[in-house]
């Protein structure tokens, strides 16, 4: 496949890996732990596992898998409550269907009779609303700035067409406060970031400047093909080696430094910041969530439907937050692989295939041995 296979070239990967090894070998890395580089985006985590990138890296580099969409149970319960209304057609991206609520997931709600449909775009949901004027079509808006513009534009389109039976249950989250919350958490050992490529395509690279300036951490905005990931890791290492902390852009073929202004305008027109938003595992993060502006209240499912809106505490034993921040490894969590498995996930990180715990659970043994061997070697 043209424009894809070029970024998966094995020969080029070998060259980059040699460069990475040489750089890592020439650095003074604390002996008790590897260098921690966090990829902020689930898309990177997916690529890293799909191509087996972690196993190719020298042992002195460890990737920490950052926040995937970690919706708290209370919000999933709200979704289920909307979906279970007889007049509602509830539409969602496929991978959100399995996220467990306190009672059930959307998948279970569908089995129990709710009209839950998988769509590939919010525009598909709007088309359903046109086709079913007697039903209320609700779209489950999730994700960072990557997906936010498409829901905003769909709402604007619905407004233009005067469609009255379409609304969005907005659970969009915004990247900058989230990274800040991670950086502010105690006990954190991160040496650099791979920045989220698709989010940056929308917001540009300028919003990350604070990471370099105030937190003194390097970040490289990275593409999603495996060569992008390796190249970006190399760029982070080079910054560390040279004592620089900058925001660099490896994904310039897609990410303009200034972002995408029509997308940002649509987002600003439809959404505003919430005062705070609850994250599974991370607790409440100020200004990390988005809600719909009053002017678009008629498209806001939160205003149109009475919601239980009950805050459900994370299970006490669940340590998703510490794993997310890289404080502990997935297998060090008390319930990993016992009370919490991909078949019956307790925490969000076990739900999605991009969640660090699900990935470790599947890719288990070999990788854990590798890490433990490194830690032991370091401690000896």
């Amino acid at each position: 496949m043209k424009y894809v296979d070029e970024y998966r070239d094995r020969g080029k990967a070998q060259i980059l890996l040699r460069e990475i090894e040489a750089l890592a070998g020439s650095m003074e890395i604390p002996r008790t732990r590897p260098l921690h580089i966090m990829e902020v985006c689930g898309g990177h985590t997916h690529s890293i596992f799909r191509y087996g990138i972690e196993g190719m890296l020298p042992k002195s580099i460890e990737l920490v898998h950052g926040p995937v969409c970690v919706l708290p149970m209370g919000r999933v319960d709200d979704c289920v409550a909307i979906a279970e209304r007889p007049e509602v057609i509830f539409t969602t991206f496929g991978d959100a269907m399995r996220v467990p609520g306190s009672r059930k997931s959307l998948l279970q709600a569908r089995a129990d009779g709710a009209d839950v449909r998988m769509v590939y775009s919010p525009m598909d949901a709007l088309a359903l609303a046109r086709k079913n004027p007697g039903r209320e079509v609700v779209f489950f808006g999730i994700g960072f700035e990557t997906t936010m513009p498409s829901t905003a534009l769909t709402v604007l389109q619905a407004e233009r067409e005067g469609i009255k039976n379409f609304s969005v249950f907005c659970n969009h989250i915004t990247i900058v406060p989230t990274i800040k919350a991670i950086l502010d958490s105690p006990g954190l050992h991160l040496d650099g970031f791979l920045g989220p490529g698709h989010v940056s395509m929308v917001i540009g690279t300028a919003p990350y400047e604070f990471i370099a300036r105030f937190y003194k951490k390097p970040m490289v905005v990275a593409g999603f093909e495996p060569l992008d990931v390796l190249q970006s890791i190399w760029m982070v290492l080079k910054q560390i080696k040279e004592g620089r902390c900058e925001i660099e852009n490896e994904y310039a073929r897609v990410v303009p430094d200034a972002g995408n202004s029509p997308a940002l305008r649509a987002v600003a027109r439809v959404y505003e910041l919430r005062e705070f938003f609850e994250w599974r595992g991370l607790g409440s993060i100020d200004h990390s969530g988005m809600k719909m502006r009053r002017a678009y209240a008629r498209f806001d499912a939160e205003r149109r439907f009475a919601l239980p809106n009950v805050k459900i505490a994370d299970p006490k034993s669940c340590q998703c937050g510490e794993v997310l921040k890289g404080v502990i490894k997935p297998w060090q969590c008390k319930v990993f692989g016992t009370a919490c498995t991909p078949e019956k996930p307790l925490g969000a990180l076990m739900v999605s295939s991009e969640g660090a715990c699900a990935a470790y659970y599947r890719y288990g043994g070999a990788k854990r041995q590798r890490n433990e061997a490194y830690i032991e070697a370091g401690e000896a």
Partner: protein, 355 residues
């Protein structure tokens, strides 16, 4: 004495309405007409013709063909009912033939139970019946018994078919997943994932049209050619639901061996790869309806490949991996990029990654 003349052929009923109604499931004249007009006319064979409650098969004839009877059943609920490369009828015949074939059996007789939602068109039903009949005839099997039920609107999704099949296994054939040994090679007979991609695309909710046809085909002839060329073949399976990845995991689990496959030699057509890239799906989990995964001892790998490639359904046959003595039950893939990843069983249905 009055002699009642023997009627050689009783007159067949005819359906004169355009759609199936509950009357066609009522057990009376309407049902008889439907069976006569649609199914009997298409399947036409002497074992079915008496329309008794059972088909009576000659045991001696079966015994001549082998020393074991293979018996299997499968239900077909595909949506949409017609898709590029086939329809539910062809699928229902091929699916059961293939389940027999991968056990090393020569498929002989099928049953066909149809559940129809009221309101479906009689012409459509005729088309499906004739598709089943054509596929069976070409494969040399007979549909010898059947059943038809009509259910209320909404009680089923247009049409479900269940086929059962029997076949005979020759005494010298012994296949089983537990027989895989380290060193064996894993072979497939062609491009993987076509059926799954064709079905997803034919549902029409992706706004993407794919120039891909389902690979739906009977495989018993290909299997016979393979077993003749590589009699030491350890195991065969058709990677339908759950795809190739699931079959590999089943083999690794049953034989307590590891399997390593190589992404670079795993044959997937560009259209299917592109389709999966866009939707965030993994082609290794897409269903196939005309493919086999074969585990073959290394010394017979070349003759097996030659036999497969000489067959119209095995032109793209290739070795995709090897059985190893690694961690029992583990399936890994060497990626095109040079890394290694685990190829696991899916927990549930494969859901597209969007966000």
């Amino acid at each position: 004495m009055n002699v009642v003349p023997l009627i050689a052929k009783r007159p067949r009923g005819k359906v004169c309405v355009p759609t199936v109604t509950l009357a066609h499931g009522g057990g009376g004249k309407a049902m008889k007409d439907l069976i006569d007009d649609v199914f009997l006319a298409a399947f036409d064979n002497p074992l079915l013709a008496p329309l008794d409650d059972q088909a009576r098969l000659d045991l001696a004839g079966l015994a001549e063909r082998g020393d074991r009877l293979a018996f299997t059943t499968d239900s077909f609920v595909v949506d949409p009912l017609s898709f590029p490369g086939g329809d539910i009828g062809k699928l229902a015949v091929c699916g059961t033939i293939n389940d027999l074939a991968v056990g090393g059996a020569v498929p002989l007789y099928l049953s066909c139970a149809v559940i129809v939602e009221e309101g479906i068109s009689i012409d459509f039903l005729r088309r499906i019946a004739s598709s089943m009949a054509d596929t069976a005839r070409q494969a040399g099997v007979a549909i010898v018994t059947g059943d038809t039920k009509v259910v209320n609107k909404g009680a089923c999704d247009k049409m479900f078919i269940t086929t059962s099949g029997i076949g005979a296994i020759r005494s010298d054939i012994e296949l089983g997943a537990h027989r895989a040994r380290p060193g064996d090679v894993v072979v497939v007979n062609g491009l993987l994932g076509d059926h799954g991609a064709a079905i997803l695309s034919a549902r029409g909710d992706l706004a993407m049209e794919l120039p891909i046809e389902s690979d739906c085909a009977p495989l018993h002839d290909l299997v016979a050619a393979l077993l003749a060329a590589a009699p030491g073949t350890r195991f065969l399976r058709d990677p339908t639901r759950g795809g190739t990845a699931t079959v590999l995991n089943e083999i690794a689990d049953a034989a307590q061996v590891a399997i390593e496959i190589d992404e670079a030699t795993t044959p997937i057509r560009d259209e299917v790869r592109g389709f999966c890239e866009i939707l965030g799906l993994d082609p290794l989990y897409l269903a196939n309806e005309g493919k086999i995964v074969a585990v073959i001892p290394p010394e017979q790998a070349q003759s097996a490949l030659a036999a497969l490639r000489a067959h119209p359904q095995g032109g793209s046959a290739t070795v995709i991996g090897r059985v190893t003595a690694g961690e029992p039950g583990r399936v890994t893939m060497r990626t095109v990029f040079g890394g290694e990843r685990i190829v696991d069983m899916l927990v549930g249905e494969q859901l597209p990654r969007i966000c």
